[in-house]
């Protein structure tokens, strides 16, 4: 059994983790009672019980950085740009970012590490690479994190019975304004009255 939330220090999150663990234990106990199903074909993805997927083994695409922005230490090297931890409205750089995520008083350094600019940090200070940002998101969105790990939240592509490709949270949700953006729908179906099927359709 893999501990679901690693390095989360807050009591609320610890409680969530315990609940999830308890649920997992309960569900695996239930599963143990049910008779073994007929031998299945390759169950590559199915060998682990739900929730036991090790986040370290999840292969994710690279984070969708704005071109040329990473590594952050290009500018944030402590010399070119001096460290300033005062909460403020950004003007010269990154002013295109509209932060629309959670409470009003949230700002950059809640997630971005001030000392290690090429990394993110959790609430307890644990450093996290950008490629593992789902751990950071999972601190608050524990239910989504749980569902994502078992492939129910978000999209999986590849093989239903084998190798799968995941997406990071940030591949679909802009972390600075995470609400999924509306799309233009593809054209509606032709109404039956408009279908030209007589004499074999249009030539």
């Amino acid at each position: 059994m893999v501990v679901v939330s690693r390095g989360v220090g807050l009591g609320r999150h610890a409680r969530t983790a315990t609940t999830v663990l308890a649920l997992l234990l309960a569900s695996s106990a239930l599963r143990a009672q049910t008779p073994a199903p007929a031998p299945t074909a390759q169950t590559g993805g199915g060998k682990e019980a739900p929730g036991e997927v090790d986040p370290k083994q999840i292969q994710v695409p690279p984070p969708p950085f704005t071109e040329g922005i990473f590594p952050c230490t290009q500018c944030h090297d402590g010399k070119t740009v001096k460290l300033n931890t005062t909460r403020r409205k950004l003007v010269d750089m990154h002013d295109d970012i509209v932060l629309k995520h959670g409470p009003e008083n949230r700002w950059c350094l809640d997630c971005h590490s001030a000392e290690h600019r090429d990394q993110l940090h959790l609430v307890d200070g644990t450093l996290i690479d950008f490629s593992r940002s789902f751990v950071l998101c999972g601190q608050c969105h524990g239910d989504k994190y749980r569902d994502w790990k078992v492939g129910v939240h978000g999209k999986r592509t590849g093989h239903w019975n084998g190798e799968k490709q995941y997406l990071l949270c940030v591949n679909c949700h802009n972390p600075h304004s995470p609400h999924f953006k509306p799309l233009k729908p593809l054209p509606p179906p032709t109404k039956p009255s408009d279908i030209e099927a007589y004499q074999g359709g249009k030539p």
């Binding site: 569900s27 599963r31 049910t34 199903p37 007929a38 031998p39 299945t40 074909a41 390759q42 169950t43 993805g45 199915g46 060998k47 682990e48 019980a49 739900p50 569902d147 078992v150 492939g151 129910v152 939240h153 978000g154 999209k155 999986r156 592509t157 590849g158 093989h159 239903w160 019975n161 084998g162 997406l167 679909c172 999924f180 509306p182 799309l183 233009k184 729908p185 593809l186 054209p187 509606p188 179906p189 032709t190 109404k191 279908i195 030209e196 099927a197 007589y198 004499q199 074999g200 359709g201 249009k202």
Partner: protein
């Protein structure tokens, strides 16, 4: 069609080896004449007219038919088309789950399906229909609009419910087919033998989900849109006068791939897997989420589940 009794008949005892072959020759020649007279159709070859139901074909016959089809498709499209006959995987029953709380009605699935499954572009045939529903009404088909076309989706006050073949465990469409041209495979997929279908459309009348489509006209499929990797019981090009339907992308899923609609969905609404595998996503959804079956009261027992992921 009385001459289409498929029970293997004992060959009449005949001492001379030539006797049998002459009789066979005369029979075949007679049948061919009858076929030519009956069909009166330039597009239907004698071999196709005399072809048996898929499930009664021997391995050799099937091999011949597939070779003939590949040749016909290559001639029609000027491109190599493979027709395979992938058997169902043992210990697999496919299931599908669709998250109603996530679908935004963008119709990406509809067009990915058309591209993958070689549907006719004109007259237009689509296997997935996305219904725009009123949130106030809930799942009420009387308030469903499949022709919505706003500049952006989702629209305020609406939710979206894509409908396609539910791959019922108790399929009414199979029950009504007078010629047994449609049946349920061991992995739970209901398929159509396009060469055996007589186009009576009883199955379309029987399907409570409106999931079957009829080729009213000669299907037009531009060569550049053709998917050349096809399956006999799946996405091979169809002809006028036959019924077709979603097969959970049989040509992909029997090889372990996700269906095209699952891969196309930008919101991760669509989930697919093996219902017999307790570790699959589909089982997780059924065991942990609020799941409902569409028109459950009809006892069709769909293997297509709607759920609320939030």
């Amino acid at each position: 069609m009385s001459d289409h009794t498929r029970e293997p008949e004992p060959t009449p005892a005949c001492e001379e080896p030539q006797c049998g072959s002459r009789r066979t020759f005369i029979q075949a020649a007679g049948m061919a004449a009858v076929a030519a007279a009956l069909t009166g159709c330039k597009n239907l070859s004698t071999e196709e007219f005399l072809q048996h139901n898929f499930r009664e074909l021997s391995k050799d016959e099937l091999k011949e038919i597939i070779a003939r089809l590949e040749k016909e498709y290559a001639a029609k499209f000027g491109k190599k088309v493979t027709v395979s006959n992938t058997p169902p995987l043992p210990g697999v029953v496919f299931g599908y789950a669709l998250d109603l709380s996530r679908c935004i009605g963008c119709r990406r699935c509809v067009y990915a399906c058309v591209k993958e499954n070689n549907q006719s572009r004109d007259p237009q045939i689509q296997w997935i229909r996305v219904l725009q529903m009123d949130k106030e009404e809930g799942v009420n088909v009387l308030h469903a609009d499949p022709y919505y076309n706003p500049p952006e989706v989702p629209q305020e006050g609406h939710f979206y419910m894509p409908v396609q073949c539910h791959q019922c465990k108790n399929p009414p469409c199979v029950k009504v087919c007078p010629v047994k041209a449609t049946w349920q495979e061991p992995d739970g997929i209901t398929v159509v033998d396009y060469n055996w279908c007589i186009g009576c459309r009883y199955c379309m009348a029987a399907c409570p989900y409106g999931a079957r489509r009829f080729n009213w006209g000669e299907p037009h499929l531009p060569v550049e849109d053709l998917n050349p990797v096809t399956e006999y019981l799946g996405n091979r090009p169809r002809s006028k006068g036959v019924v077709e339907k979603c097969t959970f992308c049989i040509q992909r899923t029997r090889k372990g791939l996700y269906p095209a609609c699952v891969e196309a969905c930008p919101t991760g609404t669509r989930k697919f897997g093996n219902l017999l595998d307790p570790g699959s996503e589909i089982r997780y959804v059924i065991e942990n989420k609020r799941v409902f079956l569409f028109k459950e009261d009809l006892n069709t027992q769909p293997k297509f589940f709607y759920f609320y992921g939030v």
